[in-house]
Symmetry: C2
């Protein structure tokens, strides 16, 4: 049986921009559009040209090659013609393949928000759709508040949908704008709407206010919709939009969807989805949700010792899909609950072979438990974990010995009367019995320490010349006076782009940072075979 | 029509403990059990007595008054009697009202993980349930891997469920252990199971691996299940368990659930759910998910200027439920996209009345936009926002003027040869034309600066004596050399327990912290009417 085509419409750059704390620049929008192209969605909604300078600039040229580049805007204002409506003219001037008009479909909002009549609103829908078609753009209509509108006045909500369809809209999108509709209602209403618009012209736009945006999208598809609107990682106003990074794997890997429908994403695109999800978080500077379905670092992670050993026997019976299909991987967590099975598995993963009966394993387990009790967490600090393990196995030379460090941050007026902040660090290390002192200034105390530490490591200098600190994360583990600070540092080799993560924990943030810096340098030396 | 009773079973302390990075102490378990009692769930599953010292100690006494205190454990081992199975005996000795046995119901796992026969597994289920009943405990059976087991061998999965029911289990819980089952399958399978177990004896235990744990739980209830298992904030292994903080409001506020079912949570419990959710995050030291359904800080937040003004006209048409019913509130975000409506609304909320036409509003909007472009975010820093606004309105006196500060962190060997880290800060301020210098040591640089800054503020000293810094959060906004650090400080008045949040942003972490400290002290002085 041939599968029907399901279209994916991404609105990360438009509805996703409503997320609190998010405000994309033009460059960020370009970078995100590239990610969406890599993924392979059918539509990229880029914003609202004419509404603000960023979106106008973004629509000065077409930003996608494969996906339909889509501009968003309001339908024509009541009481004026399309050619006299600057909003519509701005939309038509945008370099877009498609235009998605948002239209009121709840009679209450027509009256209160638009302050016009039901009939005028239908005219606005019709004229806007026709104007887009005449300008050679594919028209879509987002029926705002459709489900609430349907429950308040079914006939009028259906009239809006029909008007859009009959005027020539390629898609009539049913929006659960307030996000409170239950899956059962979505199914019933989508079925009913098909009395006026065929399912192959219907889209669903769901919000996650009850934690069911994904389920509502799938139920709408089961009921006949053939377009889903959503965002990367489910960002969006309030509780977010339908999460495309959850929906896409389900649509491609799970019955009945995979059997009845075809999407425009390739298997390569699917394998890239974890990387795309993380790259997007990096762009918007959010910590990735480790518990995210399919793409989260813990989506295929097992902690319990008892499960872990069974899992290693026959992993596929403990995993709902093979992690590799979505570019993720199985993780058996090294944790306070860790048994030897977990530990052995992690050691194998980083290339350390130890016999199960080796007594040093017990010592290592004790080390890990003690350090986790202090606040260390090796789940995200592979390099520090490897150092800890190899130290127990006697495989890490003492390259250098830090005798002391000192860092000073001073805010004062400089000679010409400007207020400046200066950070200066001094590090004293012993190498091969010889003491070396280095001093450096930096943007902040950690930067100064990093530069001073790596300034003169004698015969090891060449082995660390190519490394750089690329990210730095701080987490306060307890509040108040007992606060313990955990610092995670990401480093990279400039030549190979290989990255590694190290950790430090202390009541003192500078101390914690310095520990992570020392681990990072030591790891680089170890890998360089120094 | 009388509504049927639906039971809520919380497994935060047992399955929630499988979350990576979470490992509850006995004290934490006690505090969380208290939260669950406040909420009003029917069952509190506390852990696995006998499996580890923490859980054994936790079950040394009964920890709940209203909820059934439930111990979790495996069914009897094959080939030995109940009285010869130390695991079962440990369970029976626990001070519990109920025992929840986990039983295999997938024949594959019976063979591979238990290494026994299908018939022996049924015997284990039966004997375990009977032993619990005879010991005066209410027996429950979690059918592990039920949905995958059903799809592999329907007859055997049903035989396990039937065996548990016929042996006298109060609940037979269908577990989607791997979390990959779709709502449509859940519905079909739950309906079929009722050929052997009545719905009023069936529970559902869903995981969120496809983002549908909430939807799967609801669909199971529609199909007849009368118990839902879940966790606070949806914590749990991999992608987490069904989120009770999302499910409870939906069950109580949304048709058809609210019409057909009754839960044991009161309206007061429901109004407490946002506070309970946040208190739980605080206990486990996680940042609350601001986008969480119902309870997230942004669950009822609006950003767009255009929406905001309509929202203020008739809020209920933009909100799927009244935020107060779940103890949350409407938020109109001050943000880069802010229009005057948003800003006025926020000013009113913090008690500042300004005329819409006041030209200082435009200046304030510009201030906010400029600062947000630098990395400030006032959404979580009310006190800094209030200071910014009142400064524009000329209402904040210059209490003190910081001329300079200096902080030093040194790690070295002390006189008796111990490696110590010392943090020392010097702060120089002008007050009423007089210069004061203070010096202090602290646990870390920020602590030292905090103490030094508040050590001698002259005539203002009494107004700040009661304040203390209680939390400190650090976020790095860009990676690499352009890194900007945002520091958020939470302060409190020891007497009134009133808390306030201030923010600082700088390329230098110490600088950013100092800004937030100065705002915090200034805010305290302003509120004290100094």
């Amino acid at each position: 049986m041939s599968r029907e085509r399901l279209y994916l419409f991404d609105t990360t750059l438009r509805d996703g921009q409503q997320t609190s704390g998010i405000d994309f620049s033009v460059d960020e929008k370009i970078a995100i559009a590239d990610l969406l192209e890599r993924l392979g969605v059918d539509y990229v909604e880029g914003g609202y040209p004419g509404a603000n300078p960023t979106d106008t600039a973004f629509f000065a040229e077409k930003r996608t090659k494969k996906a339909a580049f889509t501009a968003f805007g309001m339908t024509k204002r009541a009481g004026r013609s399309v050619s006299n409506d600057p909003g519509i003219q701005g939309l038509l001037e945008a370099e877009a393949d498609a235009i998605c008009f948002v239209a009121k479909s709840w009679d209450y909002h027509v009256r209160v928000a638009l302050e016009t009549t039901n009939e005028e609103n239908l005219v606005s829908i019709r004229d806007s759709v026709i104007a887009a078609r005449e300008a050679g753009r594919e028209p879509l209509v987002d029926c705002e508040h459709f489900f609430d509108g349907y429950k308040a006045n079914r006939d009028y909500a259906l009239a809006c949908a029909r008007e859009a369809y009959e005027a020539g809209a390629r898609w009539v999108v049913l929006c659960d704008t307030n996000g409170g509709t239950m899956p059962g209602e979505v199914r019933r209403i989508v079925e009913d709407v098909q009395s006026v618009v065929p399912g192959s012209y219907l889209g669903i736009h769901a919000h996650d206010d009850t934690g069911q945006a994904v389920a509502n999208s799938l139920v709408a598809v089961e009921a006949g919709c053939r377009q889903i609107q959503g965002t990367l990682n489910g960002i969006g106003e309030r509780c977010g939009n339908a999460n495309l990074t959850s929906l896409i794997p389900t649509l491609m890997l799970k019955a009945p969807y995979s059997e009845m429908l075809e999407v425009g994403i390739s298997e390569e695109g699917l394998r890239d989805i974890s990387a795309i999800s993380h790259a997007f978080d990096e762009l918007i500077n959010l910590s990735p949700d480790v518990h995210a379905p399919y793409v989260g670092a813990n989506a295929f992670a097992t902690k319990a010792g008892i499960h872990a050993s069974a899992l290693l026997k026959e992993p596929e019976t403990y995993e709902h899909i093979p992690p590799e299909t979505v570019g993720n991987r199985r993780r058996v967590l090294v944790s306070d609950q860790a048994g030897k099975s977990n530990l052995l598995n992690e050691l194998t993963r980083i290339g350390i072979e130890v016999d199960r009966k080796d007594p040093r394993l017990d010592g290592l387990l004790t080390d890990i438990k003690e350090r986790e009790a202090q606040g260390y967490s090796y789940e995200a600090a592979d390099a520090s974990f490897e150092l800890l393990a190899r130290r127990r196995l006697g495989e890490v030379p003492v390259y250098f010995d830090v005798k002391s460090f000192r860092v000073m941050v001073e805010r004062r007026f400089n000679a010409i009367g400007e207020l400046v902040t200066v950070s200066e660090a001094v590090v004293k290390v012993d190498i091969d019995g010889e003491t070396r002192m280095s001093v450096a200034e930096g943007n902040g105390p950690v930067n100064a320490l990093d530069i001073a530490l790596r300034k003169d490591l004698g015969r090891y200098q060449t082995a660390i010349d190519g490394m750089e600190l690329i990210d730095f994360k701080v987490r306060i583990l307890n509040g108040g006076t007992d606060a313990v600070t955990r610092v995670l540092i990401e480093s990279q080799d400039r030549a190979t782009h290989k990255r590694w993560f190290t950790i430090g924990v202390s009541g003192n943030i500078v101390d914690a940072s310095f520990q992570a810096l020392v681990d990072s340098v030591t790891y680089a030396l170890l890998k360089a075979g120094a």
